[in-house]
């Protein structure tokens, strides 16, 4: 795959700009909240501007090849280089991370969760931004790992400090789960490094030479990566950290978690695990598919059992990421396209749902579905937005969710060569049933929260969606509709890159 190296400073700038903001924040006095908020806002806006610049200079005819590539020595001792680049798969996620951070910052301007301390909050958020953006552009395993882990700590503190009642439990669980995964992932990285002759950690190099590794070795290495990424995704049965983390995290944390962090895992599969270890991927694919399908049904059941709105949304993530993983497990460009689209769509939709959950909590002081109700009469706009997002989330055609869901099901009908067709067709039918359950639990949620008569008569001070929320939400809502109506906006970028990635499987 040939690389385009012009404008190769732009990615570094875009990634590390938030760090500059962090430095500025560190010197701003803690008392001066206005200044802090301004700095954070300006930083994220600047980041997004750089992102837009990247988008404008992105060569869409060459979406399949790495662009803005920069490569310099970093840690010569272990032959790890600072090697970054962007292609059609990374671009949407890279931009999504920037935009979501901006929107979250805007939302936080008047929603600082207790116990306050906006300075630390924004600092963590910006660090998080750097980590996320970096993960999506890293083309060197060590670099990838560094960014991947960099994301961990801020989120840990965000949950642990600004979280709900059981925050310590949730944050520690999240942290240790992910550490556990990362440990194996790192081992796997080292293994593949040595197995390919200890030449380089550069992903393109490993893609070239990874196929040469003996099959059983590949399978073991893939196992390491699989656990590392699967925990992050999260795939059944590594998902139990997710509901706790989501439920306990502050709204902003949940949004970033759902919109970006979960994508790190799936992105890892698409970018690293599958292209570098094709044989192992073929071995593992049926199992991944199976777990994905279990996740779909299982997540749906989890949702149906919930009494807490936020926890329900968290479980729905398990189901949706199941669709993404099902698409990936087919190892066909159809499926992986669907998966990448699904990542973006899920990021928009579920992020939006968590925003709504946060605002509901702020207004009703509870997320118990039983205690909610009649939102449409009390806060009609919020209610309608919730309706739109539920519809998008259950995969209504014409909204973004559909394009991640339907092609994934479609692709499961005939997976790549070497995969058992019967198994995958079974998966397809089960996944299709999963859409019914999705409809069930989302409409059920909607019916009980939005319809009916208000159950709470104590607060009459309920205000509908306010300006900050509008500003923070409109982009997401617009994107949900836009990508739903004109999916090619994304597919045309993703598709070439995906085909490039899957060359080992003949597209």
């Amino acid at each position: 795959m040939q690389m385009i190296r012009d404008y190769n400073w732009v990615l570094s700038v875009g990634t590390f700009l938030p760090m500059l903001g962090v430095l500025v924040l560190l010197v701003t006095p803690k008392a001066n909240e206005a200044a802090i908020k301004t700095v954070a806002l300006l930083t994220s806006i600047a980041t997004v501007i750089v992102g837009v610049f990247t988008l404008l200079n992105f060569n869409f005819d060459q979406a399949g090849s790495m662009q803005f590539v920069a490569q310099t020595d970093w840690i010569p001792v272990i032959k790890s280089t600072y090697f970054i680049g962007l292609d059609g798969i990374s671009l949407p996620l890279y931009l999504l991370s920037m935009v979501v951070t901006l929107l979250v910052v805007i939302y936080s301007l008047d929603h600082i969760p207790s116990p306050g301390n906006p300075k630390a909050f924004f600092v963590l958020m910006l660090i998080l931004q750097t980590g996320m953006a970096g993960t999506f552009i890293a083309q060197d395993l060590i670099l990838f790992f560094v960014f991947f882990e960099l994301v961990l700590l801020p989120m840990y503190f965000m949950i642990g400090v600004w979280g709900g009642e059981q925050r310590q439990y949730a944050s520690l669980k999240f942290f240790l789960y992910t550490m556990f995964g990362s440990a194996l992932m790192l081992v796997a990285f080292l293994a593949i490094f040595f197995k390919t002759g200890a030449e380089s950690f550069a992903i393109p190099y490993l893609v070239e030479n990874g196929g040469g590794i003996a099959k059983n070795a590949q399978v073991w290495i893939f196992a390491g990566m699989f656990i590392g990424f699967a925990v992050k995704v999260p795939m059944f049965p590594f998902h139990t950290w997710l509901p706790d983390a989501h439920t306990q995290a502050p709204t902003q944390g949940s949004v970033i978690l759902a919109a970006i962090l979960l994508k790190l895992g799936t992105y890892g599969f698409v970018r690293i695990a599958i292209p570098t270890l094709p044989d192992a991927a073929v071995e593992w694919a049926p199992w991944i598919g199976g777990l994905a399908v279990i996740g779909i049904i299982y997540g749906a059941f989890g949702c149906l059992a919930q009494t807490d709105m936020k926890r329900l949304i968290a479980f729905s993530s398990v189901a949706h990421m199941g669709f993404v993983m099902l698409g990936i497990s087919t190892l066909t460009s159809f499926g992986v396209n669907a998966a990448v689209f699904g990542m973006v769509a899920h990021g928009l939709i579920t992020g939006m749902l968590f925003f709504i959950a946060g605002s509901v909590k702020e207004r009703y002081h509870t997320l118990e579905i039983a205690k909610l109700g009649g939102m449409l009469t009390q806060v009609p706009r919020l209610g309608w937005i919730l309706g739109l997002c539920s519809m998008a989330s259950l995969g209504l055609p014409g909204l973004a969710g559909f394009w991640g869901e339907f092609p994934a099901i479609l692709s499961a009908y005939n997976p790549a060569d070497g995969l058992n067709v019967t198994v995958y067709r079974t998966y397809m039918v089960i996944a299709a049933l999963g859409t019914v359950f999705a409809a069930a639990y989302l409409l059920w949620l909607y019916q009980r929260t939005a319809f009916g008569t208000p159950k709470n008569h104590d607060h009459h001070d309920l205000h509908d969606v306010n300006t900050y929320e509008w500003v923070a939400w409109l982009p997401l809502l617009v994107a949900i509709v836009a990508f739903g109506v004109a999916p090619n906006l994304l597919f045309s970028i993703i598709d070439p890159a995906v085909q490039e990635t899957l060359r080992a499987f003949g597209g």
Partner: protein, 99 residues
Amino acid sequence: MLTSQFLLLGAILFCIGVYGVIARKNAVLVLMSIELILNSVNINLLAFALRNGSADGHTFALYIIAVAAAEVGVGLALVLLIYRNRRSIGLDELSEMRG
């Protein structure tokens, strides 16, 4: 003398230390186990230093001793603080995490 004999000794000490970290409840004892681990590492370093005939190993051994000292200092200070707050240094009582 064999290289491996020292390395194995290191390994044994290391594993005993690990066992201690896992099994012990009392914070001070956990710290001691960590000391065991550190020492096992030192033995390895010095064995390699002798094997390769270089002084790097010694240097690192010294560094490790110093770090260990610092670690024990801070660790015990923490233990004291916790004890003061909770009248107990059982690590499980420290756990906030009731599933």
